[in-house]
């Protein structure tokens, strides 16, 4: 998609976080290379994040993935400073969040960020509507307007009719959607979403993904999105960063990650992806040598679709064309199919 | 008297100064002189007397101000549960309305209750300075009713006074201390002998009437008496009260308790000493026994007196 980044960029620099009673004491040792296990066993401190450097261009969706416990939630909490780092900088726009004083931080959180929490964190004593208006209420927006926005989003996440229910009357997924509506109602340029769709069924999840993408089309927000679902990551993410044990092991565009995983860890990570629907022909085409053969296929078409087109017309070869119809590469059905198949061996599902 | 005869005696140790001293004197004399096994039991007046009436425990209340608790006490004596022993304060307690000495000195014309009631401005009420105040006796004591009736008999209300409830002895004492602190006027019920009067010299006001026993019994002690007349306070009786059971088993010790009496003057001087030294009841008891054999010598037989002296 477009490179037109208008939102607020986030740039995390040399971020370290150590959990424990006296983190400062070990920061140098960690910088010097002490491992997470060593720190935990010898000093009973947990290394949450280690030397994180990520640039998130304004207006893009940055996906963060990684094993459970690898520090994703810890990282996202640093962006609005719900957690104070042990060392490092978190530059949002042109301000360092770490250096903000209390008032600045409050204003920053009010107007710049909105967050969806992994564990929902709804206010149990407030109804769905009251939860949803919370951000605007805090900002002092007139009540009518609060409700107008809130009702729109409640309806958008499919909770019409539940406005006056309390969270403990809702199912897990409904609660998660309240959290979502609450964040979206806030209408902040930065959206922090920590496994925001994890409790949703595929249909509503798709729908919510569309909500996010539509939103990106209108107003360009900077979204930091943690997810475990690679399909979702690929669908939403402009850029993906993968964490492991508190460190970034790879970051880049989604195609880079899927096609050129940096190591075994990441390749096992992306193994399960439905490649036919993620990878576009551009990734597998070979440079044109001579005349374009077979049928033309538009650049950007995913493998699944082009395979179907080619087999439907019984063609073993095709060529890829750009937006103007100019041929830019050659396709071979065999290449297409083998790129669609998960590269490593796997059991045949029963 | 041998140990066997007297046995275990419990003596109420009530918590105002003179009673405390007397209880400690009894403690020493009964222990050393009569070989009793004395235990001092602390307690407020009413819990102590209730316990004596109903449970026969403690055995002795050295100093009971009869007026304050007349109704239940008389009933218990009638029922044969309690017995009056000596009138411990021989010349009786003095009750009445008092004013601070500095007011009396500054206003020599104030001699009686009526004189004082003519000057509401001198005795401002705590919650309404435009009125004068008469501080009443603590809640529930007999004197609360009698004082109220005096108040009415003297038409104090029409003279611009209110009757202020003091609640407790501590409250009453506090109000005096407060007046002294500010050198203000104070008019109200009090009694002697007490430690307070040593600390804060006060003048007793005259009564504008002679004691009239009939009117007293029929009206002044009745809270609902329609039309009280002026009267005077009788001498207040202060007795040693013992349980019937103890009176029967005490042997010679009861003779002591029946003869032990002292005067206002003695008590006052003793309390002044006690207060000056912030002494305990025990200290004061020893001080008395060491210095005033002339008084306590008469309460016991010479042999007993010897034993006591030997123990001091």
């Amino acid at each position: 998609m477009a490179e037109q980044h208008t939102g607020i960029g986030i740039s995390i620099k040399n971020l370290y976080k150590i959990f424990g009673s006296n983190p400062e004491a070990y920061i140098d040792a960690v910088k010097g290379g002490m491992t997470k296990t060593e720190l935990n066993e010898k000093h009973n401190h947990v290394l949450g994040l280690k030397d994180i450097n990520i640039d998130m261009p304004g207006g893009s969706i940055q996906v963060v993935m990684g094993l459970s416990g690898s520090g994703k939630s810890t990282l996202i909490r640093h962006i609005n400073r719900l957690i104070d780092p042990t060392a490092g900088e978190v530059i949002v726009g042109d301000e360092d969040v770490v250096k903000m004083n209390e008032t600045e931080l409050r204003e920053f959180r009010r107007h710049r960020t909105a967050m969806v929490f992994q564990k929902f964190a709804l206010l149990p004593h407030r109804t769905v509507l009251e939860n949803t208006v919370y951000g605007l209420e805090i900002q002092g927006v007139p009540r009518e307007e609060q409700e107008k926005h809130a009702r729109r989003w409640i309806s958008r996440v499919g909770l019409d009719g539940f406005e006056d229910n309390y969270p403990n009357q809702l199912s897990g997924g409904m609660q998660q959607r309240v959290g979502l509506a609450r964040a979206l109602t806030n209408d902040a340029p930065i959206l922090l979403m920590d496994e925001a769709f994890s409790a949703l069924d595929p249909l509503i999840r798709m729908d919510m993904q569309s909500v996010l993408l539509d939103l990106q089309k209108e107003i360009r927000k900077t979204v930091v999105f943690i997810t475990h679902d690679l399909d979702e990551a690929l669908r939403l993410g402009d850029r993906i960063a993968i964490l492991r044990d508190g460190e970034v092991v790879q970051q880049g565009t989604k195609q880079e990650i899927v096609l050129r995983p940096a190591d075994e860890y990441i390749s096992s990570f992306v193994r399960e992806v439905n490649r036919g629907r993620v990878i576009s022909v551009d990734m597998v085409m070979t440079p044109l040598s001579g005349e374009p053969q077979g049928m033309p296929i538009r650049s950007g078409t995913v493998l699944e679709v082009s395979a179907k087109k080619m087999t439907d017309s019984n063609a073993s070869f095709a060529h890829v064309t750009d937006a103007d119809g100019k041929p830019i590469g050659a396709l071979d059905i065999q290449e297409v199919i083998s790129a669609m198949v998960t590269p490593v061996d796997h059991e045949t599902a029963a | 008297a041998s140990h066997g005869e007297c046995g275990r005696v419990t003596v109420a140790n009530m918590n105002w100064a003179s009673a405390e001293v007397l209880a400690n004197i009894d403690n020493v004399i009964l222990t050393e002189g009569y070989g009793c096994d004395v235990e001092l039991v602390p307690g407020d007046t009413m819990p102590t007397l209730t316990s004596m009436m109903e449970k026969g425990e403690p055995d002795v209340a050295p100093e009971a101000w009869i007026n304050a608790v007349r109704e239940p006490l008389d009933k218990a004596v009638e029922e044969g549960r309690l017995v009056y022993a000596a009138e411990s304060l021989s010349d009786g307690g003095v009750e009445g309305w008092w004013i601070p000495k500095y007011i009396a000195d500054a206003n020599p014309d104030i001699k009686t209750i009526d004189d004082a009631l003519a000057r509401p401005d001198l005795f401002p009420a705590p919650e309404d300075a435009s009125k004068g105040a008469v501080y009443n006796c603590p809640s529930g004591w007999n004197c609360q009713i009698t004082t109220a009736n005096f108040f009415r008999a003297h038409d104090a209300e029409e003279k611009g006074f209110v009757l202020v409830d003091s609640g407790s002895a501590a409250g009453l004492d506090g109000s005096i201390a407060n007046a002294y602190g500010k050198e203000e006027g104070w008019l109200g019920y009090y009694w002697a002998p007490t430690a307070i009067l040593g600390n804060y010299p006060m003048t007793l006001l005259g009564f504008n009437a002679e004691f009239d026993k009939d009117a007293w019994d029929s009206c002044i002690v009745d809270a609902e008496c329609p039309d009280p007349e002026k009267n005077a306070w009788p001498k207040s009786e202060v007795y040693t009260v013992v349980t019937d059971d103890f009176a029967k088993r005490a042997g010679p010790a009861i003779d002591y308790l029946k003869s032990r009496a002292w005067s206002n003057e003695t008590v006052n001087s003793l309390l002044a000493w006690k207060d000056k030294n912030q002494a305990t009841g025990e200290d004061t008891a020893y001080y008395f026994l060491e210095n005033r054999e002339d008084i306590w010598g008469k309460w016991v037989s010479p042999e007993v007196a010897e034993k006591i002296k030997a123990a001091l």
Partner: protein, 295 residues
């Protein structure tokens, strides 16, 4: 071997001297500053006197009406409102109307003051461990120091009457609300607080929107205890000259009037229950979300 069972103290005369010196100093102090301190409390006194006058001068049907309306506003429950009125009528029938009115006037003022001051202090305590460790021992002193120990100096300053009574009641009644406000706020779920923070709540908004509502059950327990403590002090207050039911209790005690004591005691209990049920029902209304239970 006596030194083993007898603790070696400073010696009678030393102790006596200490006491005499301090007492003297204190007495001088009250004489010097008594009046100015007393002036400070004039407004309180005025307020107390007037609220008592209001309660006793007002025709009783009106008082009943006012109580009913207030209880209704707080509780929105016919049952509670009706029983409050019945309790007052029974009290009246047993001839304790006037004393009860005086007691209500006094304890109402004291309770309200205790709550008004107690909750902010409790909030302050919950914010900072430093404040907590300073305030806690003060509360310990307020609750366990026998009231007469501080009342005597207070009486020396103010004389007997409503002001020392009020002071005694408040000192004794305020600690539970402070402690339980503190506890309630400290127990609020960290996740929810984090969410409030993430939206940029100021500390006041966080307090108002999250901490107080979620601490409410505990705070209401504090209010209940404060009411109980205030009414438990009625007798002590009457010992320093506050009129009302406490005085009748004292009379009963000093004369062994068992029934009179019980009746007046029950009247105090009745007032306590009216205060308590109305305030608890009010608290309950504020936390409707807890009524919903899963399954």
């Amino acid at each position: 071997m006596e030194w083993l069972t007898e603790f070696p103290d400073l010696g009678t005369s030393t102790l006596r001297n200490i006491r005499l010196t301090v007492d003297g100093a204190f007495r001088d102090f009250t004489r010097a500053y008594g009046e100015s301190i007393e002036l400070l409390f004039e407004p309180v006194k005025w307020f107390l006197i007037n609220s008592e006058n209001f309660m006793t001068d007002m025709p009783w049907p009106l008082i009943l009406g006012i109580v009913a309306v207030l209880v209704w506003i707080a509780s929105r429950s016919w049952k509670i409102t009706l029983s409050s009125v019945v309790v007052l009528i029974v009290i009246g029938l047993f001839g304790m109307w006037e004393d009860t009115m005086k007691t209500i006037a006094m304890t109402f003022v004291a309770t309200v003051l205790a709550i008004i001051f107690g909750i902010p202090i409790g909030i302050g305590m919950s914010r900072s461990n430093r404040v907590q460790s300073v305030v806690n021992p003060i509360l310990d002193i307020m609750q366990t120091m026998p009231s007469f120990v501080y009342l005597i100096p207070v009486i020396m300053l103010f004389g007997i009457g409503k002001v020392p009574g009020l002071i005694a009641v408040i000192i004794y009644a305020i600690p539970p609300i402070i402690r339980l406000t503190n506890l309630g706020i400290r127990l609020v779920d960290k996740d929810v607080l984090e969410a409030a923070d993430a939206f940029g709540s100021s500390s006041w908004q966080r307090l108002k929107n999250v901490q107080m509502p979620l601490a409410l059950p505990t705070i209401m327990a504090g209010i209940n205890q404060t009411i109980m403590m205030a009414l438990a002090m009625v007798v002590v207050a009457s010992m320093v000259g506050v009129q009302g039911l406490g005085q009748q209790v004292l009379r009963a005690i000093n004369n062994q009037y068992f029934t009179l004591g019980v009746l007046n005691g029950l009247a105090i209990v009745g007032v306590a229950i009216i205060f308590d049920r109305a305030s608890q029902a009010y608290g309950q209304r504020l936390q409707r979300h807890t009524e919903v239970v899963h399954g």
